[in-house]
């Protein structure tokens, strides 16, 4: 039975409505339970001694003085942990040629970035462990440092991992059509160099893990702030030699993730290894400096790109040469080649054009490893594409909206395959653009801009169309050999009083996963959402699943929930039909009652059915199935990814004397397919936009030439504050995916994907009459003043 989404008056119509989040009440009262809120009997604390050098030989570690600190119990080195923990190698077979050396939970005889764990101090209190850590003396012999990305492959640059042969981690060239000859003959060719800065996620809750090992049961329990508890279960089991069935990962409240908490971190595995050695609970909570030096970084790209257009503004070809540096190791198990790979996959995404060449070059360097962070690769690809499209429009004297209209895939051409070989099932670029222009009142805004310019005030409008990759299939990781699940499952159970419990493999980090699941299960079974208790984040009770990343929670976890809920409904109705001597198809469940499907007349409360099944099963016919619990798993199989699309616009003002950009307003129209909870989707979009705005205007990790990280605090690495952010208007087009009954695609990354490009284009729109242009993010006052020639070298 399918859900009649077209009918808003259908019974139990919770999918598509704004219902409150079941966990919000707890969080506003300070009753959340984040890892650092948990204390276990005999718990100890670990603090890591970290490399102060970007590259150094470790000649010796003297821990004698540290041991004398009261409360310090033990001190571990890399070699100590190597005895209980095997190293990992982060490569994927389908990313041909990707290489990375084995990585241990702590440095063995060499450290490769500032912040790499070198020794671990365990004490009865965090304060004592910190006191001990300062006293551990590490004898370093500094080695030559690879810091610069663009010279990493030069012959004169030392090779970071000699056994790898060179500093090239991965390279991919994709070519379609005859790019070179088109560029030779095209009406106009525009080229530019783009830079996106090194970012990190700055989750307000730092990375946190508390691991207990009970040797008498051979049981490991990890309380972990993670997006992928089952993946962590598999990783801990594999590298610490415990059966998967004896590793339980519990993921309670998580204080922000954005992709940061989906990776395997050496210090977190070290914590588990130490717990296994000491046979007692060990807690690790990163401090803020550790967050900056050891949370994954991302988006450190430099791109040379050009676009060829004809006189009508049709895009003829796009040529992209992308470079990125990923630090000293590819990050396990997702690898650090995905971001560059995504740039190749996503450039030119909204547009129908024939000739495309893109190359990504991924190099090693002595910095913090980079890996997947919210909207992986999208902000880069969108900035390059949309930046070039705007420059081409300016070159042709064409309106930025018009050039997009002439190139975007028509809304009725799907399915299509892009020149990057991405398959699009159904997108809505033109409808989205129409809606955006209506929401922002484009013509009025242009008039306002002109009026302001008359007063010497420089305002700009920037538009950015984009595609977003969601609902990944095993094509993303599984086919490359990674034990990362693309499928997900849900178990739905009816308890004796008729209330429902749903256990799902996707997790909650604040997006509203539990609310979304409660709505789907409520509609699927036929009860009130408040009667559905959702349980996530416990590998011992939830079905095996991938967790929450790549905007898969609603599309994949939601579909599994819908299918298991419908299956439970069928089980309930089978019993009800027998009890009521009725035809099963003539019954329905509404608001917790079995009803007559035709008239809606109440026949029996679920509570009564539960009483009979659980306590008076003797009164039911022998052989009648009575499993009031059902599990279903779901995996996408038609398309490797469910692409979504959207378009954003920024309106801003540039102060040409100070270089300061003031964001006046921001708009986003996106199409994530079926919307399950409009409010949650809107707030995901808004939060995502602000993360993108941070990248456009503020966020940048700085290193010096020796590989020293220069801004490791929240005072020095700037993230958006309330006073700097605009109000945002969000609109939707709904093109459900046909792959699932639910039809949902993801919405978690669309905001971040498009916002930086919209801001860049708006700034350049404001600066164009002054002959200035910026393409290096973040667009700080200094960079803007340099572009204007106000300050010179």
């Amino acid at each position: 039975m399918t859900v009649r989404f077209g009918n808003p008056d259908r019974p139990n119509s919770y999918i598509g409505k704004t219902v409150p989040r079941p966990n919000a009440g707890r969080l506003v009262e300070g009753r959340g339970r984040y890892v650092d809120d948990i204390s276990l009997p005999r718990m100890v604390h670990v603090v890591f001694v970290r490399s102060q050098f970007a590259h150094a030989k470790i000649l010796g570690i003297d821990a004698e003085e540290a041991k004398s600190v009261k409360g310090v119990l033990r001190i571990f080195t890399g070699t100590d942990l190597a005895e209980v923990c095997t190293p990992w190698v982060a490569v994927l077979e389908h990313l041909k040629g990707l290489k990375s050396p084995p990585e241990h939970p702590m440095a063995m005889d060499r450290s490769c970035w500032v912040g790499e764990p070198v020794a671990a101090v365990v004490a009865t209190s965090r304060a004592a462990a910190e006191d001990g850590a300062v006293l551990v003396e590490v004898d370093y012999d500094p080695l030559p440092v690879v810091a610069d990305m663009m010279t990493a492959l030069d012959a004169a640059t030392p090779v970071l991992h000699p056994e790898m042969g060179d500093n090239l981690a991965f390279q991919r060239l994709h070519e379609q059509g005859d790019v070179d000859s088109v560029f030779e003959t095209a009406h106009k060719v525009v080229s530019a160099n783009f830079k996106t800065a090194r970012h990190t996620g700055v989750t307000l809750e730092p990375r946190s893990i508390l691991v207990d090992w009970n040797p008498s049961e051979g049981q490991m329990t990890a309380y972990h702030a993670t997006q992928a508890p089952h993946m962590m279960q598999t990783v801990l089991a594999e590298h610490l030699d415990v059966p998967e069935s004896r590793v339980r990962v519990i993921c309670g409240d998580v204080g922000g993730s954005y992709g940061i908490k989906v990776h395997v971190y050496p210090d977190e595995v070290a914590t588990a290894a130490i717990a296994k050695i000491m046979a007692r609970p060990v807690k690790f909570i990163a401090d803020r400096l550790e967050s900056f030096t050891t949370d994954i970084h991302a988006r450190d790209h430099e791109i040379d790109a050009k676009i060829a257009v004809d006189a009508e503004g049709k895009i003829l070809a796009l040529d992209v040469d992308d470079w990125t540096a990923i630090g000293a190791y590819s990050v396990y198990p997702r690898t650090s080649a995905i971001e560059g790979n995504q740039v190749v996959n996503l450039c030119g995404g909204p547009y129908d054009f024939p000739n495309y060449r893109a190359k990504t070059t991924v190099v090693f360097q002595n910095k913090t490893p980079t890996c997947q962070y919210r909207a992986v690769g999208h902000p880069i690809a969108v900035a390059v594409t949309e930046g070039l499209v705007d420059m081409a429009a300016a070159e042709l004297g064409m309106d930025p909206v018009e050039i997009r209209r002439r190139n975007m895939y028509a809304d009725d051409t799907y399915p299509v395959t892009s020149p990057a070989n991405m398959r699009f099932e159904g997108l809505s670029h033109h409808q989205s653009m129409d809606k955006l222009l209506e929401l922002m009142d484009y013509d009025a805004l242009r008039a306002d801009q002109a009026e302001a310019r008359g007063r010497g005030v420089h305002r700009g409008i920037g538009i950015a169309s984009f595609i977003e990759l969601t609902n990944p299939s095993p094509f993303m990781y599984g086919i490359g050999g990674a034990r990362i699940s693309a499928q997900d499952g849900c178990t739905v159970r009816m308890d004796p009083d008729g209330s429902i419990v749903a256990m799902s493999g996707v997790t909650e980090q604040g997006q509203g996963t539990e609310a979304m699941l409660s709505q789907i299960v409520a509609e699927g079974v036929g009860v009130l959402p408040s009667n559905v208790r959702v349980i996530t984040g416990d590998t011992q009770v939830t079905p095996y699943g991938g967790g929450t990343w790549a905007s898969r929670g609603a599309g994949i976890g939601g579909e599994a929930a819908l299918r298991s809920a419908r299956a439970l409904r069928d089980s309930i109705l089978e019993v009800a039909a027998s009890m009521l001597q009725a035809v099963q198809a003539s019954l329905d469940i509404r608001d917790g009652h079995v009803v007559d499907a035709e008239t809606g007349a109440k026949r029996m409360p679920l509570e009564e059915l539960g009483r009979i099944v659980y306590f008076r099963g003797d009164t039911l016919p022998k052989g009648l199935p009575r499993e009031l619990v059902q599990t279903r798993h779901y995996i996408t199989s038609e398309y490797p990814f469910a692409f979504t699309n959207g378009v954003q616009a920024s309106y801003l003002e540039v102060d040409t004397e100070t270089g300061i950009v003031t964001l006046l307003k921001h708009w986003c129209v996106e199409d994530c397919g079926r919307i399950i909870n409009p409010q949650l989707v809107d707030e995901q979009i808004r939060g995502g936009i602000v993360q993108g705005l941070g990248g456009a205007l503020f966020e940048e990790i700085h290193y010096d030439d020796d590989g020293q990280l220069l801004n490791g605090s929240m005072a020095d690495y700037l993230v958006p504050m309330a006073s700097e952010m605009p109000d945002m208007v969000v609109g939707h087009i709904e093109t459900p995916t046909q792959e699932s009954a639910l039809g949902a695609k993801g919405a978690g990354e669309a905001g971040t994907a498009g916002a930086p490009a919209a801001v860049m284009n708006a700034i350049n729109d404001a600066l164009r009459p002054l002959g200035a242009q910026v393409t290096e993010m973040p667009f700080t006052p200094e960079r803007i003043l340099r572009a204007l020639g106000v300050i010179e070298e």
Partner: protein
């Protein structure tokens, strides 16, 4: 390090309306004292140097960064944390507005955000949106993008102003 700094200090204070006597290390911060010694885990430590506001609690009626103040300075103080403000229903309207407007996602910033918001609301009147945003500049939220938080605070300011006039 001087001898005095190593010492423990006796403090006698009120936390969420209940009397507390404690002997604290002179170097311990308020946030650690509340979280670790009193089990009040509602306020959080995040930046640990006064920038993000996740550790915000009320001390003697004003909002204070728990990571910047020492527990030893609390002698005689009247401290309120999110737990007490919830139990006493002091900010029930604000909490309900946060839930209704989905002004929280991961919730890690939320207890501090609510204390900061209450400080502004306690001044009375209906502040401009820009003033609300300005007041929240010491409270980072990495999830929501702030707009929903501003909306929720504005709604409560209006509600309270309406009540006062009525």
């Amino acid at each position: 390090m001087t001898r005095i700094f190593d010492d423990k200090v006796d403090i006698d204070l009120t936390v969420n309306g209940e009397p507390v006597e404690a002997r604290v290390p002179a170097g311990q911060h308020v946030i650690d004292f509340l979280r670790q010694d009193l089990g009040l885990t509602g306020a959080h430590a995040s930046c640990e140097h006064g920038v993000c506001g996740a550790c915000t609690v009320q001390v003697d009626g004003t909002s204070v960064r728990g990571c910047l103040m020492l527990a030893a300075q609390l002698d005689g103080a009247d401290v309120w944390t999110i737990e007490g403000l919830s139990d006493s229903e002091t900010i029930r309207d604000l909490q309900e507005a946060f839930i209704a407007r989905n002004a929280l996602q991961c919730g890690f910033c939320t207890p501090g955000m609510l204390v900061a918001a209450e400080e502004l609301l306690a001044l009375g009147g209906v502040p401009e949106r820009a003033a609300i945003r300005e007041h929240l500049s010491g409270n980072y939220c990495r999830c929501t993008g702030y707009e929903a938080i501003v909306d929720a605070i504005e709604t409560v300011a209006r509600q309270r102003a309406g009540k006062v006039q009525a």
